[in-house]
Symmetry: C2
Subunit: 189 residues, 2 copies
Amino acid sequence: MFDLILSNIARHVTLNQQEADDFLTFLQPVTVKRKSTLLSAGEICKAIYFVSSGCLRIYHTDENGTDHVSLFAPEDWWAGDMYSFHTKTLAFYAIDALEDTEVFKLTEQNLERLYVQIPKFERFFRILFQNGFIMYQQRITSSQSLTAEERYARFKNLYPNLEQRIAQKHIASYLGITPVFLSMLRRRS
Amino acid sequence: MFDLILSNIARHVTLNQQEADDFLTFLQPVTVKRKSTLLSAGEICKAIYFVSSGCLRIYHTDENGTDHVSLFAPEDWWAGDMYSFHTKTLAFYAIDALEDTEVFKLTEQNLERLYVQIPKFERFFRILFQNGFIMYQQRITSSQSLTAEERYARFKNLYPNLEQRIAQKHIASYLGITPVFLSMLRRRS
DNA sequence: CGTCTATTTGAATGTACTCAAAAGCGGTGG
DNA sequence: CCACCGCTTTTGAGTACATTCAAATAGACG
């Protein structure tokens, strides 16, 4: 149950047994049913989530009612509205589950305690955000310089096998194109 | 000379006099002339830079020779190819100066020493990357849901007065449109 | 002052969009 | 278990926004 998250942490910092045990006490397991909402836009995002199975989608709904996927978070990814979480302001993004999903919830209070108790986690989250920063930066550059078809290839590379698990309209929304146009692209290739 | 960078740091962590003095010893002032290159794509990015005056541009040149601006870094911003810096791989992005620019250079070795000597900097850079992550996330969402005109308004908001200082082709490149089209937009409004 | 680069303008093109309708698929209840 | 209903995907036609190409004008720098 905890293997995945511990190996996720171990990718950037090394915890001893005691630290690992302590860390786990800060987590709350939560089950999110397919199509149910973990965070609504306009709420305050009070926790971040580590996905141990299933898949979340972090998205924004614009004034026309169109969704725009910011990120998919399948197993081994972290999710949250980081701006809302960090500034305690109303969330711009919403989060829901595309599959039945198991997450570990890490609340703001617990995270701050964690930073104090095991300062290594400052480093861990520094590296996590650094990687997220790099990922979004590459996505910006992709959206500037690549065609929709090339970005689709990138998506498949970033999220292996995810294509089979989720609806195409969500992939189109991630790519910044319409489902109709994605359908055309797939037909072509 | 050091006021700007110290107030930049102070925005997220509090340093005592000793720590501030120690921190400054890790920095090297560098002057970058307008149009000269601070980092070329294909090199390894061995340092990150804090801009105290002037303006840098972080960009990628695609196979057609077209530039795509990832970020502007005017005074009070940090810059670098974070992926190259972090993984010691060849830089995908290049950095040059759009104005005569003064930066403080913080090398990888010095940064690692800084993390050890003043662990608060783990927190500082965690927050810095967190904010960068959020900024790029919003830019992705903007590129998905806003028109070029609306994104142009966002640019002006994010970088007040920068418009007057740099060429329009760079702004177009940042917005992901052609200079020709930006010219049309400006005419319209 | 002259040259080089950036910006503007106009015309033709193309990519991705909207709208509409048909086909496919999945889930639910009888 | 099958039939039906609703949602997703596909397909086609017409449209709009942003592009490319080309030429003229403006501006910056030596």
